[in-house]
Structure formats: C-alpha cells, structure tokens
Symmetry: C2
C-alpha cells in the first residue's frame, strides 16, 4: 500500500514502540526512501529534519531498532513501528525512551524515568550538541 508522505512535506511521523513492553520509545520522521530502507533492512532508518539527511538510528551508538511489525493508520499518513531495541535506551540523553519527562498541571516538566546509560560513554563526542548531532 502507498503511504501518504505529502501532508508533512514529504515526511510521515513514525512512532517507535517497544514490542515487548509496549513502551513508546520515540517519534521520528520518515521520507519515502527511509521508509523503504526500514522495510527492506528490518532496522529503523529515519529522515533527520535538522540534518536534512537519512539517519539510521544507532549509526553511531549501536542502539539500532530491529523492526518487528509496521502498522499504518487509517489515513495512511502515520506509522507505528513495533521494535526490539538493541541496547539500554534510544534517547541521546541516556534514557530508555525519549519521553522521560511528564508535565504537571502547571505545565512544569518532571523527569519520570531513570537513566539507563551514560550518554557521554556511548556517543564519542564531548558535548550535548555534538552528541545530538552524532545520533
């Protein structure tokens, strides 16, 4: 079936969910090429909007996402990719999930997860900006 990549300028949002735990790990965007690479290779490839290039998740960290199932929504413009994640976490800040903060009723953020790894030991760079850019 055809995925509609046109609603977001050639991209579709892709939700990454842990197949085993059900935890939502992150959200990335895919263009048609990264979607095809993901489908054929069995490992998640995004399109990075900030770097304007294909981005294989785990290319520097080794924390690749092994695809178990690809789901498509009713409008075929959003993807839900159920994965087995390799490694202790997907977030460049050292958490299992990128959604490690919760907002309280006043809109203030609170960290609700434990760090599962030290990002500085995984990303071979020395500052947060570079760490982000490398992953």
């Amino acid at each position: 079936m055809d995925i509609n990549f046109e609603k977001t300028g050639g991209l579709a949002p892709a939700i990454i969910q842990d197949e085993t735990s059900g935890e939502v790990l992150m959200l990335g965007f895919m263009n048609a090429e990264s979607f095809e690479m993901t489908r054929r290779s069995g490992e998640v490839v995004f399109f990075s909007r900030s770097r304007n290039r294909l981005w294989k998740k785990g290319e520097s960290s080794g924390h690749v996402l092994k695809v178990c199932d690809i789901r498509v929504d009713c409008d075929a413009d959003a993807l839900l990719i159920r994965v087995n994640p390799v490694g202790p976490g997907v977030c460049h800040k050292g958490y299992r999930s990128c959604f490690f903060r919760s907002l309280n009723h006043k809109g203030a953020a609170r960290v609700v997860a434990e760090r599962t790894f030290a990002p500085e030991a995984v990303y071979a760079t020395t500052n947060a900006t570079a760490a982000k850019a490398s992953e």
Copy 2:
C-alpha cells in the same frame, strides 16, 4: 516548559496511548492553542490539518480522550499523551486504534484488529468522507 511547535509549521505530533493497555491509539497534531486546551481541560484537542481548525476528539462521536499524563520528548517537539479513552474505539473506521493494519514483507496491508463498533451508527452521516470530516 515550552513545547517547540515550530519544526512542523506551528504543530507538534501528539501520540495517543491507552494508559491501561499501552496500545497506541492514534497520532494527531496540536498547535499551541489546542495543546493548552488539552492541558487545561483534561480532554484531548487536536488541530486538524485537513480542516484547518481546532478539533476536539469526540466532538461528534462522544469518544473523548481523558488525559492521564502528558509526556514530552527530549527535544520538546513531540508529545505522548496517555489517556483513558471513552467509548469502544478512536478510529472513524470502527476500530479501537487507528493503527489496525500491518504491512507484510511485500508492503501489502492486512487488517490485524477486530472492529469494535459500527462507524455508521456513531457518526451521523452517510458516507465515509463525511464521517471523517465530522470527526
């Protein structure tokens, strides 16, 4: 904390996850106004890109989404909203989740969920296009 709505032209993707089952139910977009309405009212309000207006989920079906928790990702540009959904499903096609289709290795879609309600009985319109537009 401030949510970054600028990466997607004033919008941020919002993943809707069932608080109890962990099932991912749908993905919508929020602008700053709909996000504030969601946060303050405790019920999910999206911004509909196709209709270019605020869209309270359930406004016609009654299938509102009661907010349990709002999570923000590391870049503060994506939202994960954990909800208690009211009613048998969120999808205008009659399923609990909008992600009711799975792609096989050839890219063909297969329905992997059971219908939980008859959309024509819920949406007071007579065709699929109108049903979608009403919700």
